[in-house]
Amino acid sequence: MAEERSFEIQLARSQQTYTIPADKSIIDVLYENGINHPISCEQGICGTCIVKVLAGEPDHRDSILTDDERNREGQFTPCCSRAFSERLVLDI
């Protein structure tokens, strides 16, 4: 697998911005910052963590979302997915 890259996320509700380093998941960083977003499988299977992407280009890594759910509804699994763009705005 290609080398992961770091990117930024912005949480729309609190307007907080965090950097996601190459070796951590979005969820890792949220938890380090005391944001206990619901999770279960941590690998894009169960759907517990699904959130909406409000801006940016997501790099989906889950195994369950349909194209429609990803592209039209903007669903995204922050436990395992990353970003192609520099910044992702999430509805958290």
């Binding site: 279960s40 499988c41 299977i45 169960c46 759907g47 195994s63 369950i64 349909t66």
Partner: protein
Amino acid sequence: MIVRNAWYVAAWADEITEKPVARRICNEPIVLYRTLDGAACALLDSCSHRGAPLSLGTVTEKGIRCNYHGLVFGCDGACVEIPNQDIIPKKARVARYPLVEKDQMLWIWHGDPEKADESMIPDYPFHDDRENWPHIHDMMPVKCHYLMLVDNLLDATHLAYVHPASVGGSAPSVHMVAKNVLDATDNGIKLSRQMSNAPAPPVYNNCVPFPGMIDRWQNFEFIAPAFVIQYSGGVEAGKDRATAGAPRFDMRIFHALTPETDTSCFYFWSTANGHETDNPAATDMIDSEIRKALAEDKVMVEAQQERINEFGEDWLVDNKADAPRVMARRAVAKMMQRQNPD
């Protein structure tokens, strides 16, 4: 999660005769029977007079007669006769359920009868294709939520643990490394698994002795809310699946799970033989082997349901291999949401 506006299999067509059968479906007691003309009917299993079960009644020329005080009901649920009484009140009727006979099954609709669209019934032409796919069918009551059997069918990783002596084969790693292709469809999912150069599982070998390793396939289509259409088989490793002759194994299984209550269901299945179509013993062999596997599943899912009754499901953590069942359940949830938006 029981979807009401959906067709479910109420019975095999050959199970239902003029002798009424009581079956609880989607939490409602239903009586299934045939009129003397052979038409299959489904009514609420409770007489509009004093509530007695119609399944204790008798089918007569005019309809099904309740054997408590003798009221008779037609297939549309209306009372047609009250002994020693001229007036038949308009309200003397029982709920009737749309029931369609198709592909050797009786399909029942529990939701709004206006919405009962027969084109939503899945097609399974193999049941009538005795020449190319001779089959055997049966039903088994299982004490678990119907979707737990969908989970089970779409989960290949349990084969190695629950079914080592039947459909599984003994090497867990074969199932773990199988190549899975998983796609969402409009009303469910499609899952196909290929296992190359794998040992033939006991069932395959009992039916068709293979001299060595085989290439196996398992194709599943889940159609929400309650059907799994399976096509599995194997040819000698390296042979072309489309053209390989004997020894080869070709099996189709139709699985229909019908909710009885929230924690129990009816498991209707058929096993069809595609490799030795003119040999009834081969059809019997598949049946008896698959029966063993289903009995193994039943033990596990019923025990699992007891724990889920006690501790719920919210704390359970999915594995990577749960993707197909999670997608299947999402398809059911979507179907449900389309029906009751808000």
